[in-house]
Amino acid sequence: MKYWYAIALLVLAGCGKDLLDTDPINRGVLPLTPYVAIGGSETAGFADGALHFEAQQYSYPALIAQQLQLVGGNSFTQPLTADTGGFAFINGILLAKFDLGNKEDCLGETSVIPVRREVTNGTFASSFYASKGGPYGNMGIPFLKVADIDNVNLSASNRYYFRTGLDSISVAEAVLAQSPRLFTIWLGMEDLLAQAISQVPAPAAIQYYNYLLPLVDSLAQDTAAAGFVATLPDVTAFPFFNTIPYNALELDQPLADALNQAYVGQGISFQPGPNAFIIADANAPGGKRQIKATEKLLLTLPLDSVKCLFLGSLTPISAQYVLDEAELAEIRSQVLGYNVIIRELAEEKGLSVVDINALYAKLETGLQINGQEFNNELVSGGFFSLDGLNPSQRGAALIANEFIAVMNAEYRATIPTVSVVQLPGIRFP
């Protein structure tokens, strides 16, 4: 009987060649190198609330470059940090990245939420400075606004730009110095997010056009270059603005009664169960009102104050944590306006449009990839990193695949896409 097995193995060795042919891979007529990516935080690989090594390694430009290498592209340089907790400067404070961790709230209940890693001076110093001042294929600079593309003093105001060592030259100059043959542009996100998070008005659509034009114009001078420009998503759909429900004020009967007494005569009433939070609104009678179901609370809302200090009930939530209807409408119309400009510029200068907005729009109903669903939920949605704003590594892969799909379609290329589910997921404690 053993002979059978031996013979079987011999025969199988004979017919054991690969059953499936490898797909032909080809760059078509796409120029591959030098490749430069221009953008903000998402492009830089800023994720989980910080610029950190793992997210940089799997930033969407790095993933695109990795796939381009399969068809003959060169290696890609990024101003990498050391493999530690990364860093961010929020309101002048140095912070490390978020991890999912256990955190005890003011009521003594422990839950798993994004928690910042401890910053240690040693690890920070070793990871802060990037080498040598470039050139960098990844010219994504965290928090880069369109108005700053030509700013030669950006190092003074943007510490992420400062650390790259690109002294006294602007982002546009640093890009053009590399004479890119292939470039991707995704700009405007930081302007929209600054308006949504910090009420810093984003430039009007026409200004947006004027800021972008000189750079795009110079890049397009090289008629042999291939350029791709991405549309912008509706940032108000991001988990940062949708994780805390408008009606997360849970009350029992005595609390509801007490609040009804406190608000007697102000046209606000509370019931046992979920209630809409109280927010500050200068235009409302008494300067406060209940938040509407269509309005949004920011993820930075101090939840301990909500739970233990009656924030959102006795004390109204201040406007910095709220996106009201007017603000939401304004941001959404900005997005529409910018996208019109993006398409117009692309048409004018012969760039290809990558509809990243359409990708983000699919997250609203859920996007299934190989059995995993990606949506707008924080953590479980898989697309966003722990800051609720920037893509996770798998999110970056989905973005990279959109670029690659357009490259393939418009330049007769057959560049393989990235296997999304093979990238690192969001780690639980």
Binding site: A8, D18, N370, T417, V418, G425
Partner: protein
């Protein structure tokens, strides 16, 4: 020790998915396998208990037939877009079929029999790191039928027979969960269940002439209801309350099979079989898994399968070189029951084409040794990501070979001859029917 050996054997019974339409295992008798797995109208020995109980009473001797196979599969998947190719871990599998037939005296028109065989099975292990890991990492489906059978013939011309089937089935599925453990590995869900079910296998054999036989048999669908299955989850500590290990109940239907065959003998040493199997896969519509304890994230599962009924067309034959040696050959085309959009890594099914070879050596009237070989080639099956039920796009392709060997022990004295020596019926009616 014996018990351990048995457990090891049972673990290997499942047949890799590459070998038959859906999860049917078309390996029920070495002689038939050599002839493209035909034999519905060609009763040879106790294997008729499976192929056509109607033909059993027309077989010559009391017989014990023990059939064992080695399956060596190869299955590949190429992910759409990325072009990444993954190999299924293709371990060997060892399905078997054993049959015993008996009657008290040589010329009695009846025969009883008992068959033990593995009609459906599937075993797939893609590993835990492949592109479809959130759809399926491994599955194993096993069934075993025990079939006591009675067959009766009328004047050696028409045989009818039926068997009661008691089936045991077990199914296990594993997939990764898209939650990442502290180690960086994915979480995992493993589901398993076992059940028993009942059915029947009935058939009619008609010996039209010395040269021509026809047969029809029907194997019923069988419903397996697993009530005490279990679901086990490996998830991060923080999610344990959402993924409770719990009891599950599920139901699996194996399809009915309508087999039709013709056997033609242009001369006494040559037999040519043409069989058609029509398999009622439509019963395999949904896999429903009911968790006893649902949580906010753990709803009952409904996996759409949406199979359609499917045909297999088989042609094969045997030639007796002399009284001690018979050679066999055959071929078949197995049309798959899986619709576009529902191709899954669990049954990555495609139309298949096979060629088979076989031989029988008789050392005496009492002992025969059968061997068989199958080469099976599946066409590539491409599934578009946008249209797939689990949004897993790519191309599957399978290939495989089997080796089989059977030991046949014949009991009792020299029986009726292989072919009835009754005079042939006149080929034309003597009196035309009155108009």
């Amino acid at each position: 020790m014996a018990y351990r050996w048995l457990a090891w054997w049972l673990m290997l019974l499942g047949s890799p998915a590459v070998f038959a339409g859906g999860f049917q295992v078309s390996l029920q008798g070495i002689k038939q396998t050599g002839m493209g797995h035909t034999g519905i109208a060609n009763p040879l020995d106790a294997t008729s208990i499976y192929f056509n109980p109607g033909g059993l009473s027309l077989t010559r001797k009391n017989n014990l037939s023990v059939n064992a196979y080695v399956l060596l599969p190869k299955l590949q998947f190429k992910e759409e877009g990325t072009g990444d190719i993954y190999d299924m871990d293709a371990g060997a599998a060892f399905p078997f079929a054993a049959y015993w037939s008996w009657n008290a005296k040589q010329n009695q028109p009846w025969k009883i029999g008992l068959g033990v065989y593995t009609p459906f099975g599937s075993s797939v292990d893609w590993g835990r790191t492949w592109a479809g890991k959130y759809v399926l990492t491994s599955t194993s489906l096993r069934t075993i039928h025990i079939q006591p059978t009675f067959s009766y013939n009328i004047k050696d011309r028409v045989g009818i027979g039926a068997g009661f089937i008691y089936g045991r089935g077990s199914v296990a599925l594993a997939r990764n969960l898209p939650v990442t453990l502290p180690s960086g590995l994915d979480g995992e869900a493993r589901l398993s269940g076992k059940a028993g079910g009942y059915g029947f296998n009935a058939g009619v054999h008609v010996r039209i002439s010395k040269k021509l036989d026809v047969g029809v048999s029907y194997k019923s669908a069988i419903k397996y209801k697993a009530k005490n299955g279990e679901a086990r989850f490996t998830v991060p500590t923080a999610l344990r309350d959402s993924f409770l290990n719990t009891a599950i109940s599920t139901e699996l239907n194996t399809p009915w099979i309508l087999d039709m065959g013709i056997t033609y003998r242009p001369e006494s040493r040559l037999a040519i079989n043409l069989d058609v199997n029509y398999v009622g896969w439509k019963v395999y519509d949904t896999v429903a898994i009911d968790f006893q304890e649902n949580t906010s994230v753990l709803d009952d599962i409904y996996l759409p399968r949406n199979f359609k009924n499917a045909f297999t067309i088989r042609l094969g034959g045997s030639y007796d070189i002399d009284s001690t040696f018979t050679i066999r050959a055959g071929t078949y085309l197995d049309l798959n029951p899986v619709r576009d959009g529902f191709v899954s890594p669990e049954t990555p099914d495609a139309d298949r084409f096979a060629i088979t070879l076989g031989a029988t050596m008789r050392s005496s009237e009492r002992f025969e040794l059968d061997v068989s070989f199958t080469y099976l080639e599946g066409v590539g099956r491409a599934e578009k990501q946008a249209e797939n039920y689990a949004k897993l796009g790519g191309t599957y392709r399978g290939r495989g070979i089997t080796f089989g060997v059977a030991l046949n022990f014949n009991f009792g004295k020299k029986n009726k001859p292989l072919l009835p020596e009754t005079p042939e019926s006149p080929s034309t009616p003597t009196t035309p029917a009155a108009p």
